[in-house]
C-alpha cells in the first residue's frame, strides 16, 4: 500500500511536468527560445526549457525519508520522466493526424516538431524523446540521492555554465574590442560557448564552490571577526567607492548598445524607487503609477518641443522642475479622493485613474493640445554650455544622477520620522491613526514623493527618445514596475535595482523573451508570493517580519490539521 502511494507521487509529478512541457511547447516558447544556443551545437535555451521539466519532475518523484530504496528512487524518476514525455508524444502524433493544426494552434509548427523529435522523423523521434526524458527523469531522481556536500557544488557549476552560456552574446560584445580574435573563437562558438569552455567553466565553478564550502568560508569569517571595527568600516567604504567607480566607468566598457539597455533599466529603477515608497514603504498598492510617468513626459515634451504643439520652447533644464512639480501635484490630486480607501479598492481605483488618463490622451478631445495618437516630436535635449546630451552614454549619467538622488531621498526618508509613519501605516492603518499619525498628510506625502520620481523618470525618458506617443504609457508599464519591486523585494532599495536588472535588463538583452515577457512576469509574481514573499534582495526588516509571520502560519495550519484530524 505504501509502495503504491509512493508511485502515485511519481505519476502525479510526471504528469504535471508533462503538462508543463506540453504547454511551453504549444505556446511557442520552446521554438522561440531554440534560436539561442547555450553550448554551441549541444544545447539551446529551448531544449534546456524542455528538458528541465523532466529533470524537475524526476527530482520531485520521490522524497527522502519515505523508505524508498535507491533503485526504487531511480525507477520513480524513470516513471516521472517517461510520463513527462507522453503528452509531447501525443502532440507529435496529433500533428500527423491533423496536418492543419497550425490553423488553430498557431505555434505548433513543423520546426517545433523537429525540435521535439530531434529531426529524426515521427516514430524514431518519439522513441528518442521518450528515452531522453526517461533518462533525465532518472538523473533528476538520482540528484536527491547525493549528499548535500556534492549537490551544492554541482548545482553551482551547472548554474554558472548555463548562465555564462546564456549571456555569451553579451560577453562577446563586451570582450570583442579588447581580446584577440583567436581566443574568442576558441571560447565562443557562432552562438553560445563551445563545449570545451562549458566543461572548463563547470569544473572551475564546482572546484571553487567545493573549496569555499570546505575551507574559504570559514577562513573569511574568521578574518572578518578578527578585523578591528575601524578597518571594517574603511573596507566597507572602499567597497562602496569601488562600486561607484565601476558604475561610473560602465558605459566605456559596455559600448553603445548595452548602455542603451542600461538607460532603459535605469529609467525603470527610477520609477521603481518611486513606487517602492508608495507600495513598499506606505503599503498603498497603486496600479495607475504610469500616469505620473506620462505627465512628466508630456510636460517635458510640450515645454521643450520645437514642433507645432510647443508652448514656451524652453530648455530641458528649465522644463525639468515643471515636469516634476506637475507630476507631484497630480500625485496629490489623485491621492485626495482615494485617501479613505485601502487595499484592493485602492488598487482598482488607481488602475481606473491610469486608464482614464490613457483614454483622454489618445482622444480627439485633447488632440489639439497634446497631439493624440501622433504624439509629440522634436523634444529638446539637455544642454550644458555647448555640450548637448545626445548619445546613450550621456543620458546614462543623467539617469544615474536621477537614480542616486531618488535613492538618497528614499534612504533618508525611510529612516526619518516620515518613513516610520509610512511603515506604521503599512502595518495597520487603524493602529497608526490611534498612535497619533495623521493619515492624510502621511499618505499624500507618499503619493507625492512617488509621483515626483516617476515624473522625473518621464521627463528624462521623453528627452532621451525625443518623441513620445501615448501607447508608450500603457498599463503594462505600471505592471512592469510593480513586478520589479515585488520580485526585487518590497521596501528594499537594492531590491529595486536587482529587480530592474532581472526583469527589465534580461528581457532587453535576450530578445526572444520579448513575446513571453508578461507571461513570465505573471508566473514570477505568483512564484515570488508563494515561495519567497520577501523578494530577491529583501530589506532586513521585511525579511524578519515575513519569516516571523510564516512561523505563525505554519503553527496555525498545524493546529488546524490537528483539529480536522480529531
Amino acid at each position: 500500500m505504501a509502495q503504491s502511494t509512493n508511485f502515485s507521487k511519481a505519476v502525479r509529478y510526471g504528469l504535471i511536468a508533462g503538462v508543463v512541457a506540453l504547454s511551453v511547447s504549444a505556446i511557442g516558447m520552446v521554438e522561440t527560445f531554440d534560436v539561442r544556443d547555450i553550448i554551441t551545437g549541444v544545447l539551446t535555451l529551448g531544449q534546456l526549457l524542455l528538458f528541465s521539466t523532466a529533470l524537475i519532475g524526476g527530482y520531485f518523484s520521490w522524497k527522502k525519508g519515505e523508505g524508498v530504496t535507491p533503485v526504487g528512487a531511480l525507477l520513480r524518476g524513470l516513471v516521472a520522466g517517461l510520463l513527462t514525455a507522453v503528452p509531447l508524444v501525443f502532440l507529435i502524433i496529433l500533428t500527423v493526424l491533423w496536418p492543419d493544426i497550425r490553423d488553430s494552434f498557431v505555434n505548433v509548427t513543423p520546426a517545433l516538431i523537429n525540435i521535439l523529435t530531434f529531426d529524426q522523423g515521427t516514430v524514431t523521434g518519439s522513441l528518442i524523446l521518450l528515452v531522453v526524458m526517461g533518462v533525465l527523469g532518472v538523473i533528476g531522481a538520482a540528484f536527491d540521492l547525493l549528499s548535500e556536500r556534492i549537490q551544492k557544488p554541482l548545482l553551482y557549476g551547472l548554474l554558472w555554465m548555463l548562465g555564462i552560456g546564456l549571456l555569451s552574446e553579451i560577453l562577446l560584445l563586451i570582450l570583442r574590442p579588447y581580446s584577440p580574435r583567436a581566443l574568442l573563437a576558441l571560447l565562443f562558438g557562432d552562438k553560445g560557448i563551445t563545449p570545451a569552455t562549458a566543461v572548463v567553466i563547470f569544473v572551475l565553478a564546482v572546484a571553487i564552490n567545493a573549496w569555499w564550502t570546505a575551507r574559504g568560508k570559514e577562513a573569511a569569517e574568521r578574518r572578518r571577526i578578527a578585523r578591528p571595527p575601524s578597518t571594517a568600516k574603511q573596507l566597507r567604504r572602499l567597497n562602496i567607492g569601488l562600486l561607484i567607480a565601476f558604475i561610473l566607468i560602465l558605459p566605456f566598457i559596455m559600448g553603445t548598445y548595452l548602455t542603451e539597455v542600461a538607460d532603459v533599466v535605469g529609467t525603470f529603477v527610477l520609477m521603481g524607487l518611486g513606487l517602492n515608497i508608495v507600495v513598499g514603504f506606505a503599503g498603498l498598492l497603486d496600479l495607475g503609477y504610469v500616469a505620473f510617468f506620462a505627465i512628466g513626459a508630456y510636460v517635458m515634451g510640450l515645454l521643450t518641443t520645437q514642433g507645432d504643439l510647443g508652448i514656451g520652447g524652453i530648455s530641458f533644464w528649465a522644463a525639468l522642475p515643471f515636469s516634476v512639480i506637475a507630476a507631484t501635484l497630480a500625485g496629490i490630486i489623485l491621492g485626495v479622493p482615494v485617501l479613505r480607501m485601502r487595499g484592493d479598492y485602492l488598487a482598482i481605483v488607481t488602475l481606473g485613474f491610469g486608464e482614464i488618463i490613457r483614454v483622454l490622451v489618445v482622444s480627439d478631445l485633447l488632440k489639439p493640445y497634446i497631439g493624440g495618437a501622433q504624439g509629440i516630436l522634436q523634444i529638446g535635449k539637455p544642454q550644458i554650455l555647448d555640450f548637448v546630451f545626445v548619445q546613450p552614454e550621456h543620458f546614462y549619467y543623467l539617469i544615474l544622477a536621477g537614480c542616486l538622488l531618488a535613492a538618497f531621498v528614499s534612504w533618508r526618508f525611510r529612516d526619518a520620522r516620515l518613513g516610520r509613519r509610512w511603515m506604521a501605516l503599512r502595518e495597520d492603518e487603524d493602529v497608526a491613526e490611534a498612535m497619533g499619525i495623521r493619515l492624510v498628510s502621511t499618505k499624500l506625502m507618499a503619493f507625492a514623493t512617488g509621483a515626483a520620481f516617476s515624473g522625473l523618470a518621464g521627463a528624462i525618458f521623453a528627452s532621451r527618445l525625443s518623441s513620445i506617443f501615448p501607447h508608450s504609457f500603457n498599463l503594462l508599464i505600471s505592471i512592469n514596475v510593480l513586478s520589479l519591486i515585488i520580485v526585487g523585494g518590497l521596501g528594499s532599495l537594492p531590491g529595486v535595482v536587482v529587480g530592474a536588472l532581472v526583469l527589465v535588463g534580461l528581457p532587453e538583452l535576450l530578445r526572444e523573451f520579448a513575446e513571453y515577457r508578461l507571461l513570465l512576469y505573471g508566473a514570477l509574481l505568483i512564484v515570488t508570493m508563494l515561495l519567497r514573499p520577501e523578494g530577491l534582495w529583501p530589506s532586513p526588516v521585511r525579511r524578519r517580519e515575513l519569516h516571523e509571520s510564516q512561523m505563525e502560519h505554519i503553527s496555525e495550519d498545524e493546529t488546524e490539521e490537528v483539529h480536522s484530524l480529531a
Binding site: 504547454s23 504549444a26 505556446i27 511557442g28 516558447m29 490553423d103 488553430s104 494552434f105 498557431v106 505555434n107 503599503g283 498598492l285 496600479l287 485626495v336 479622493p337 482615494v338 485617501l339 479613505r340 480607501m341 487595499g343 484592493d344 479598492y345 488598487a347 482598482i348 481605483v349 488602475l351 481606473g352 485613474f353 486608464e355 482614464i356 483614454v359 483622454l360 489618445v362 482622444s363 480627439d364 478631445l365 487603524d430 495623521r438 492624510v440 498628510s441 505592471i479 510593480l482 513586478s483 515585488i486 513575446e515 513571453y516 508578461l518 507571461l519 512576469y521 505573471g522 508566473a523 514570477l524 509574481l525 505568483i526 508570493m529 508563494l530 514573499p533 502560519h553 496555525e556 495550519d557
Partner: protein, 356 residues
Amino acid sequence: MSQRFKDIDYIGVFLWVFRAIIIVLVIYGTVSKLFLGVGNEYTIETWIDFFVSGLSQGSLYALIALGYTMVYGILFMINFAHGEFFMSGAMTSTVLVATFLSASGFLDAQPLVSMLLITAVSIITSISVALLTERIAYRPLRRAPRLVPLITAIGASFFWQYFFRGLFGSALIPFPVPESLQGRWTIFGLEFLRTRVVVMGTTVIALVFLYLFIQRTKTGKAIRAVAEDKDVAALMGINVDRTISITFAIGAAMAGIAGVLWGLVFRQVHFYMGFVPGIKAFTAAVFGGIGSIPGAALGGLLLGVIEAVGPPLFLEGLGIVGAHQLKDVIAFTMLVLVLIFRPQGLIGEKLAEKKA
C-alpha cells in the same frame, strides 16, 4: 485632536466639490443636449437603439460581474484574473469548436445545437482555468496579508493573457454567427438586433438559474454559509475549500457563457478581450453592491446603459468632440465615484471596515 478634525473637513469639502462638479456637468450636458440641441441630432429610434444596446452590453457586464461578486462575497478578495476566465472560454470555444462548425456548415444547419456545444466548451474551459488559478495562486495564500492574493491575481491575469496569446496567436479571431441570428427581429413594432435579444434572454435565464441554485440547493446554502463565516461553516461540517472552489467554478461558468455571447455581439475574440470588460464588470459589481447577486445584475445593466447613453447625451451636450471615444472614461469615472461616495453600492449592505 482639533487638527485632525480640520483635516477631515478639508478633505470632505474637497470631495463634495468634486461630486458637485460632476453632477453639474452631467445636468448641464443633458439639458444643453436635449433642449438647446448641441451636437448631433438623434431620432427617438436612435435613442431606443442606444438604450437597448446598453442593456445588452450591460447584461454581459452583469454575467461577468457575478463572478467578482460571489468570490468577493466569500473571500473578500478582488479576483483580478476573472476577466481572463471569460477570455479563455471565449477564445478556446471559438478556435476549437465554432470555427469548425462554421466551416462544416453545421452551425447554420443546427444553430441551437451548435451554440449549446460552443457554450459547453466555453464553460468547461473557463471553469478549468478558474480552478487551476484558485488552486495554485489563491488557496495557499488564504491566510496571507490581503495584498498578497491581489498581487498573485494580477500575476495570474497576465499569465493567462499571454498563455492564450501563445496558444491561439495574437490576431483577432472572427466568431462565426449563425445565419438565423443575423439581422433583426421586430418586437412590439420595434426592430431589435437578434444577437442582442439572444444576449438578454440568455442572461435572464442564467441569472434565474443561479439565483435558484444559491437559494434552493444544499450547495447554494453551503456557499452562503461560508460567505457568512468560514470557521463556523467548517464547524457545521461544510468543506470550506471545496465550497470556495465551487464558487469560483460557478463564477467562471457565468463568465464562459458571457464569453460566447460577447463573441455573438462583437463577432471576434482576442487574447486581450478579457481585461477591460473585467474591470468594467468589477465596476458593475461594486456599483450594485459587491457581494450581492441581484446587485451585480442591477449594476451591470445600469453601467451598460449609462455607458451607451452617456456619450451622446451629456458628453456631446458639453460640446466634446469624439464623445464615443470617452465611453471608458465614463465607466472608470463611475468606478471612482462609487468607491469614494458609496462603497457599499446601490443595494449592498454596509460592510464593516475590515471587509471593505
